[in-house]
Symmetry: C2
Subunit: 207 residues, 2 copies
Amino acid sequence: MARRSEHTREQLRDLMLEAAEQLIVNKGLAGLSARAIARQIGYTPGTIYLVFANLDDLILQVNARTLDRLRLPMQAAVAATDDPEQQLLGAARAYADFARGHPNLWRACFEHRLPEGVAGPDFIDTRIAQLVELIMAPLARVSGAEGAALDAAAQSLWSGVHGVCILTLTGKLHMVGGQATEHLTDDLITHYLAGLVSRTSPASSRA
Amino acid sequence: MARRSEHTREQLRDLMLEAAEQLIVNKGLAGLSARAIARQIGYTPGTIYLVFANLDDLILQVNARTLDRLRLPMQAAVAATDDPEQQLLGAARAYADFARGHPNLWRACFEHRLPEGVAGPDFIDTRIAQLVELIMAPLARVSGAEGAALDAAAQSLWSGVHGVCILTLTGKLHMVGGQATEHLTDDLITHYLAGLVSRTSPASSRA
DNA sequence: GCGCGATAGTGAACGGCGTTCATTATCGGC
DNA sequence: GCCGATAATGAACGCCGTTCACTATCGCGC
């Protein structure tokens, strides 16, 4: 019972990540199991532990990939125009779009919990920070904010967009006048920006 | 093996919810199990299924209680002042406070996933809607918005506050200039409100 | 061509899980 | 003092993550 390098460690890693991704896509994080991955790639569960420390480790690697893929359309949206407000609106729409298009992968990034004490690894934190940094430049241009105020603005605004996506896409916002995700992100961003501009550079409208 | 009403159905229900809550508080949603609940109250796992349809049902009941408890400090914050902006800031701070004070219970409300197809029950949706409705009146007063615009504002703003709480409290916002939760909710609300006011009732400052 | 040490991969096992259900021990009423 | 109803059991089913002694195969030195 050994196929001695029928696949490289690296190939095996990719096979497993691919299989895991597919399982998450089809049945959500809860549908993922070491046994299911093994079944799908024709190995036994034990083999997974030759490549990953444990299932959490594997899931975090899938999430890292997802965050990388999520960054691309957001970058594209920022690159698509020179108007900083449009850049922010576009990035948020790209974010919401990705979340709606790959709900299970996206939710896996934010709903996966490590055991009680353990902190998330740097390679995830870094990738989330990259997303927030994407909006820093447009935000600085549109508001004139800098330093700690700019950090705060980027974090609160992006968290806000994230919150809108979470609550609308998980169906927890089934209330009175249920609004579409993009409608709400647009609302949040335009009003936030208007307020930020009026407070940071009080007397100007440079149209 | 039958103690024939050593406890009422109702008492049993309370015992189970209490035990479940304690387990979630101490070890998170992942630390909850039918066997653990049963062990804690001196019954066997099977008994749980005489009272609840399944574990998900039980968890949803715990979450309903949590949301009820969460509403109280938010209501108090709204009642504590007449200034609508202060009401909104206070409600958000109360929300963040509760989330920080009972992180595992709070996260259970939003991270618990039902099986793939199943939708959340009304008694949860209703309670979330109640939280959003709490901020509708202040929001209407401060902005003059009404109808669909008011709905959108309440939903996007509250979702935003929720997003800030999620990302800061789960440690996913460990970035450049890490900001305190309350600082970010204040930032989000003040700027959003400033923008909302300037767009809804363009030419006025009624201090 | 051959044997041998290294090792990729196995598969059985452990202790846990949610859930079901035939069985039992106890109760209230006759 | 019995008997029907029923609260509660506990064993069972099929899952789970994870570990590890073992084995079947490989590449290498002869």
